[in-house]
Symmetry: C2
Subunit: 133 residues, 2 copies
């Protein structure tokens, strides 16, 4: 069902500042940044092997990313696992009693996504992604 | 400098219980488990693509893993990034003023490793690994 780790998302206060570590010090490549106004988030994409590290900066205080930052500080937010067929995966998880944040897949930047509730995943917020063909 | 994400480590209370999610529900393969008495930890290795998810269970209350669990609960603990040359990487980070937990590499299960302090990495505990040839 799961093919690979698509990305690890890290919440930061300020992407420019965080790039001084992740790009300039650790030497990761910055492929691009994206601002998604409807989600109130700016994202920096840093490929590493077959995965990416994504830096998430909240653009307003009422977003879930901003609330995470206020409560827990900067740090790892979620991991995203690529699946072949997200509808089949969600149907299977539902049948097995796993608590889902998104009961059906929603449109994401790179395909269709859904989050599993961390109460069902030992505290790890997991995003599933079926990449657009 | 960085080749790929070697693994993501997740602290759990009980590996057997956590496997019911990660192996039986999400369908990840369990390659093996290891007990490292001198570090007071049991580890389950679950390959996914070119990376692994590692589940860490503390074996005694005086370990850093047990303290993390008591303070923050189950969840993501660190990410491990594979580097080509860990001595060169550590020298470079030191020169750039990055705070290191291990100033020189120590022996790990799969090669030589060192941890960077999360105060220098926006709250993300990062392990560097140079794999044994």
């Amino acid at each position: 069902m799961i093919k690979r780790i698509d990305h690890i998302a890290v919440v930061v206060e300020d992407i420019e500042q965080a790039l001084s570590l992740f790009r300039d010090t650790l030497g990761l490549e910055l492929s691009h940044t994206e601002t998604i106004p409807e989600q109130g988030v700016k994202i920096a994409f840093l490929p590493v092997g077959e995965s990416e590290i994504e830096l998430l900066e909240p653009l307003s205080a009422d977003t879930s990313i901003a609330k995470f930052l206020a409560k827990r500080g900067e740090g790892m937010h979620h991991i995203c696992l690529e699946v072949e067929d997200i509808d089949a995966a969600l149907a299977d998880l539902k049948e097995k009693g796993v608590r889902l944040i998104n009961k059906t897949a929603v449109a994401g930047a790179h395909g269709r996504v859904a989050f599993i509730h961390p109460k069902s995943t030992h505290g790890v917020l997991i995003e599933l992604l079926e990449r657009s063909k």
